[in-house]
């Protein structure tokens, strides 16, 4: 009973939205206050790691093409590495703030994976458009985790980082398997089902 891929996107969107909201909360109240409770401190790295783990079933079951599998596999590994590095930092096992660059790498790999595994052009149909848009958004937004690594107390970096997840969630919620985008849909895309 495999879910349609749009449902998977919406479930990931929900995780991203919660993550973005929590990161936004942390940016507003400050890291010291946010980390006063252990579960809150582990929430972001734990969710990042969990999203990486959940990317494996996506890789395994959505085998539309070899590039899909490779992109999802690379994405799963990078999200897990980024989550693990952040977990190590929160736990105190890792000391250097440069470990935060793992999240920058995570963003770059995630954005590239989105771009690489979308074989169609921007206006082929809605999911194609959104994959291109999300890919470039996440590649460009890699500037925020980079800024967090260089200036951990930067309010702009923390807010931009959080909003990236909220924006990604909105885009994921907009995703449909077959639907037009701004009135465009290729004849090859199939019939919109709703």
């Amino acid at each position: 009973m495999q879910p349609p891929s749009e449902h998977v996107h919406w479930l990931f969107a929900t995780g991203f939205l919660l993550l973005g909201l929590c990161l936004l909360g942390e940016a507003i109240v400050g890291t010291e206050v946010w980390r006063r409770r252990a579960w809150r401190a582990y929430l972001w790295p734990g969710l990042a790691f969990a999203l990486g783990v959940l990317m494996w079933p996506v890789m395994t079951f959505y085998t539309n093409s070899a590039i899909h599998m490779l992109a999802h596999g690379a994405w799963a590994q990078m999200l897990m590495i980024a989550g693990a590095a952040e977990l190590g930092l929160v736990r105190g096992k890792l000391q250097s703030q440069w470990w935060r660059l793992a999240v920058t790498a995570g963003f770059l790999v995630s954005g590239s994976a989105l771009l690489v595994h979308e074989q169609n052009t921007w206006f082929f149909q809605r999911s194609s458009f959104l994959h291109h848009l999300m890919g470039w958004t996440i590649v460009v937004a890699a500037i925020f985790p980079l800024a967090r690594a260089i200036k951990p107390r930067s309010q702009v970096a923390a807010t931009g980082f959080a909003l990236t997840f909220v924006v990604a969630a909105v885009m994921l919620y907009c995703d449909r398997d077959v639907a037009p985008v701004f009135g465009h849909i290729s004849e090859l895309a199939g019939t919109p089902h709703r």
Binding site: H7, L11, T14
Partner: protein
């Protein structure tokens, strides 16, 4: 008392209150976004027309998920966060 000292004492108080107010609006804002989405695109809530729908169409309802995230943040995450913000401010005084 020196007026400058009073203003210096008031500034962190105001900042903490502002932060508490801003963070308190996040959950309701997301909740409203979900409700607005449900009103604009009611067909995305398949529970309103469940006949003939499969499991995933009934289980994954995007506007309801958005509302759920807003409620979760407001009722689960926020109360402790506000307590800690107040506590932090009290210890800083």
């Amino acid at each position: 008392m020196n007026a400058e000292l009073v203003s210096e004492l008031k500034a962190p108080l105001q900042r903490a209150a502002a932060r508490a107010r801003i963070v308190s609006t996040l959950g309701p804002a997301i909740l409203l976004a979900g409700v607005g989405w449900a009103l604009v695109q009611p067909y995305r809530i398949t529970l309103l027309h469940p006949r003939g729908q499969g499991f995933w169409w009934l289980f994954v309802e995007p506007p309801l998920l958005v509302i759920a995230v807003g409620l979760f943040f407001h009722f689960v995450v926020l109360p402790g966060l506000l307590d800690d913000l107040e506590e932090e401010h009290a210890t800083a005084k």
